[in-house]
């Protein structure tokens, strides 16, 4: 009798597990992002965009309710790792998303993937997972880090610009952006400067730029560093002779309100901007502004697209995301209306997307915005996809 009871209980237990993917069970999403410190605005952007994307799909993913587990990685890999472990082991998340910084992503992705969790990046796009370390359960909805810089090099070649001065903070992403730029830019770099991360004053570097007399400056300074640099560059009066060029993160809506007029006339290479010309983007920008009272950046649009991708893929397989093989296939071929318009996953699960030139101008309310100009690159593929041998499962 005892044995029968145990067997019965075991059978019951097995039963509960095997029907785990019922429609009323929530999809558990771990949203690990940066909500404190200098990068806090970025995490909030992605989260706000993601929530708006969830609203668009009726608050559901593949017809199932969503349980969102939110945690702050403080932009630190060790903190991110602890939080991710908690989400994976205690909360039993199905999908991990939200990570902003690539160094955090490199720390959290592997343990999550090893535990069978899907990592769907709404921002960080490290080269490692685009190349040799590419993984069947790792997707980047956003971009590969180098791509915007590569597109800017392509644009400056087409414009016949020959002499560029390049600057970035002295840390891995800074070096990636300049490396990406050098990969495509055919002219001469009359200066290549890596400054201390978090540097406040750029007067000395700006004096060097003036002395080198370039035709333009390629720069990547995220967050407050960019605000400092752009304001000081503008005050030095160099913008007319040597315009500023950068990937979109250098001059997007996370920093533009603080830069003000100093940013006017700067150019960037963008995969999305607030003036993107398609109906879904116009609706998104209007909805976002109505709800959060600010103009969205591409961080927010990536958050939005991430929610849409997850919903579209889950819907295609009737919400049964526990079937990992099917969910992976569904993600690879997900049909959704991206804010970017042209979007699909490459064989390494990173985006194939278009890049446009944008110029910073004033909108009718006098606020600086990224105005879309000409197309730079169609169906841009990242530089690492050939190194990726994607495993079957």
């Amino acid at each position: 009798m005892m044995r029968f009871r145990t067997a019965f209980a075991a059978a019951l237990l097995c039963g509960t597990f095997s029907v785990a993917a019922r429609a009323e069970d929530p999809v558990k999403i771990g949203f690990l992002s940066t909500f404190s410190g200098p990068g806090a605005a970025l995490g909030q952007e992605v989260l706000d965009g993601f929530k708006l994307g969830l609203e668009a799909s009726g608050g559901k993913i593949g017809g199932r309710p969503v349980e969102l587990f939110q945690a702050d990685d403080q932009a630190k890999p060790d903190v991110g790792r602890q939080q991710a472990d908690k989400m994976v082991e205690r909360d039993k998340i199905n999908v991990l998303t939200g990570v902003i910084f690539s160094n955090v992503m490199l720390a959290v992705a592997k343990p999550a993937l090893d535990a069978g969790v899907f990592v769907v990046s709404a921002n960080a796009g490290p080269s490692q997972y685009a190349g040799a370390q590419c993984n069947p359960h790792y997707f980047a909805v956003s971009f590969q880090n180098d791509s915007g810089a590569e597109a800017m090099g392509t644009y400056l070649n087409a414009k016949g610009v020959k002499k560029i001065y390049a600057l970035a903070p002295n840390y891995p992403a800074g070096k990636d952006f300049i490396a990406g730029f050098k990969r495509t830019f055919k002219g001469e770099l009359v200066g290549e400067k890596y400054t201390t991360f978090g540097q406040l004053d750029y007067a000395a570097e700006i004096a060097e730029i003036r002395a080198a007399n370039p035709q333009g400056v390629f720069f990547f300074y995220p967050g407050g560093m960019g605000v400092n640099f752009v304001k000081q560059y503008d005050q030095a009066g160099l913008k007319k002779t040597a315009p500023l060029y950068g990937p979109s993160f250098s001059v997007d809506q996370t920093v533009l309100p603080a830069m003000g007029d100093a940013a006017l006339g700067a150019y960037s290479a963008a995969f999305w901007a607030e003036t993107w010309d398609n109906p879904q983007s116009k609706k998104f920008v209007a909805d976002f502004e109505a709800k959060y009272h600010r103009i969205p950046s591409s961080y927010a649009s990536d958050g939005y697209d991430t929610a849409l991708v997850l919903d579209a893929a889950a819907k295609a397989i009737g919400g049964k995301i526990e079937d990992k093989k099917a969910f992976r296939k569904a993600l690879e071929t997900a049909k959704f209306t991206s804010l970017r318009g042209n979007f699909k996953f490459d064989t390494n699960h990173y985006p194939i997307q278009d890049y446009y030139l944008t110029e910073i101008v004033k909108d009718p309310k006098g606020r600086p915005i990224m105005q879309v100009r000409e197309k730079i690159d169609s169906d841009h593929r990242d530089a690492y996809v050939s190194q990726c041998k994607m495993a079957a499962e």
Binding site: A40, N170, T195, L200, N228, Q232, Q235, V255, M259
Partner: protein, 290 residues
Amino acid sequence: MTLSLFLEQLLNGVQLGVMLFLMASGLTLVFGIMNFINLAHGSLYMAGAFAAAVAQQATGSFVLAIVAGVVAAALLGIVLERAILQRFYTRSHLDQVLATFAIILILNETTRMIFGPSPLRMSLPHALSGSVPILPGVPYPTYRLVVLLAGLVVAGLLYLVIMRTRMGMWVRAGASDRTTASSMGVNVPVVFSGLFGMGAALAGLAGILAAPILSVQVGMGEPVLILALVVTVLGGVGSIRGAFFAALLVGVVDTFGRVLLTPALGSMAIFVTMAIILAFRPRGMFATHG
């Protein structure tokens, strides 16, 4: 490096130094005279910048913004001193560091709750936003010259107040020997409160003057605080004159270190300089304590 570029970089160094001096002067007074380590000095700098940015957005006036920033920082400083910090004057330095570090965290989070995580804007009046030629072919931002001038004026005024007035005498007496000064009839608590308020106002002024050049955001005070601490220690704790020359030295060394050395070495230049100077002058360049 051509001569004109060298002179421009020298001016950049001096200008950075003057900005650091504004921040360090308040710190060195409080540290030197009250023997109190106030890490929250950076928060007062942030408070000045935020108050100025908000006042400018509300009124459109740069002058009103400066007034609002100085008043806000001084008020916050006095409230902090009265409510919390004065209880820590007699405690150990470690307790002071812990308490003021906690205040940094609390003020940062409070600011984030009120103003959000995105940086604010502080723009310049049109007259100051351009540049003027300082050498043939070398335009220099007008505003940086204004900051330079403002810093020199503040340094001069502080020097006069400390060296030529009765209150300055009390302050110097307190810096040299607190107990004796007190027994000679100096009302130490009042002097301390006034001094703390002045230090806070100076930090606020530094924040306001930096706001059009730097990003006005949560946590903006901490990187500057570190440099200001270096200046304070290098100059000799409690010495205004020391803080002034140490700030200029740090500004110039940092500027040329960034230009002439590799990034890793350039960011160490200040700290190597500090180590060398402290090896020979452990109490700083202009030590005040006996």
